[in-house]
Amino acid sequence: MKPILEVKNLNVDLKLGKNISKIVRDSSFEVYPGECLGILGESGSGKSMTVKSILGLLDGHFTVSGEARFNGRDLLLEKGETLRRMRGKEISMVLQNPMTCFDPLFRIGDQIRETFRTHTELGRKEIYGRSIEILELMRIRNPEEVMRKYPHQLSGGMLQRVMIGIAVAMQPSLIIADEPTTAIDAITQKEILDEFIRIKGEYNTAMIFISHDLGAISRVADRIIVMNKGRVVDRGTFRQIVDEAKDPYTRLLIEKRKAVMGQYVRVLGNKEVEYA
């Protein structure tokens, strides 16, 4: 099977004055249709920068080199408009903090409509119908009311559902989720994760799921790459990463996680506890 996204030797440098810092170094990975790739790493490990550079979301201070083939086309060579046209329709993105990802001055309905207007030829009524469908799909109970709300009137979990809804609405072939559960409280986190798992199952969409949370990533990702200081240091399935991590940094991450889980196990009286 051909990968939908193939990244080869990606380098991202940040130039500030005379200082050049290497943010991402020689990263290579690929994502296959219907598969979810997890990118695991601490803050500052270059996870977000990797995907932002692929999508051309970095400003002039950054230089990007390497290759990022999406359906055969190198995204890094595509300039402005082409890349823009491709994004959103074929690749969509869900960011970390839903509370800040909506324009505070516009109603939810307006913001959903804006995406439809740019990507489809649908009329106002059809867009409204589709918007309601999306919200219902994301299991939001009173979609009509939610459409009339401003972002600050909704909870983080609710906003993230809307955001995922918008991301799915265009039926993209790749969804990139950058720490989509980090800014959300624990109970809602689980529900949002379930949403991602459901989308993966129902739509067979390829996905990149970025997180520093081993538990979250283990539930969604089919394969995982571990990033540390801008490099891909480990790769494999979750089991492989847990059992036979090659990189000392990955082992440290796993050890810590196991230690925490061990505590749980002791407290809960040796009941079976899974990594979640």
């Binding site: 823009r84 329709k89 969509s92 324009d103 909870s155 609710m158």
Partner: protein
Amino acid sequence: MTADIQYKIKKETRLRAGHHFVYALLRALSVVVLITIAVFFLMRLVPGDPAVMVLGEHADEAEIQKLREQLMLNEPLSKQFAAFLGNIFLHFDTGDSIKYGVSSRDLVLQYAPVTLALVAYASVITVISAVILAFLAATHKDSLIDHAIRVIPAFTQGMPVFWIGLILISVFAVNLGWFPVGGVGSGMGGFWHSLTLPAVTIALGQIPSLVRSLREQLLEIMDADFVLTLRAAKIPESVIFRKHIFKNAFVPTLMLFSVNLSYMIGGTLIIERVFAVRGMGKLLFDAISNRDFPLVQAVTLYCAVFVVLISLITELIAAKADPRMRQKEKSFGNNAG
């Protein structure tokens, strides 16, 4: 499941726009009432006998008594205050001017239009140039343009306004002869033409601070998560800028400008003197130098009411533009649930 509780919309945050309007109006009214009280006591705070202050140490005793009579200084304070309030609420007046012998209100209304025109003219220049400069600086962040825009205007901010006014007069009026040295021209064209130099002078004092904060606002918004989201969703850059960045920068700019406007009115009164414009500035200086208390009170009161009105209008526009301003503050919080 927990979904019902989790995703129930925060109904209590809703507050009808009408309520907000009433609150804003009440706040403005209470400020006006406080100013009125302050203006009344302004005259009583002057040490010694106001009548003596007006007429001088060696004035005739009968004259002084006459003036005390006219200013109601012989009456008890409560009665004076009642009369003062009555006069304000019934006639919007603070009594007859001592120097001119006519209603202070009429004098203010006669001199106000020029000052208002000057303030409006200066505001237009300020806002247009500040928006353009801030936009250039923000879009060329850390470039030469950005540094120039941030540093050069600081020079004019460091100088006293009257000094800038004098420089402009000597360059553009005396040497180049483009504008009159002072006074107000006749006819529509002549009127605005003669107000250009004073308006520019006032604007020069305002632009630097406005540019700096507007630049910060723009940069912050251009860097906001929602802009990244819009970009990632391939919304055209022009739409992002016009619709989202501009609208988000508009509200804070407006608020800042309304605060600056009150300083601007103070500055205008001085600048009018430099350019010999016969407006509220002249009236206030005359009133103060003649110890014309009723007139000082009228000028103070009308200026203050104008400032309150401006901030009321600003608040209402801001509330129209930003839904978060229509809410009671305490209903924020609880973001995570």
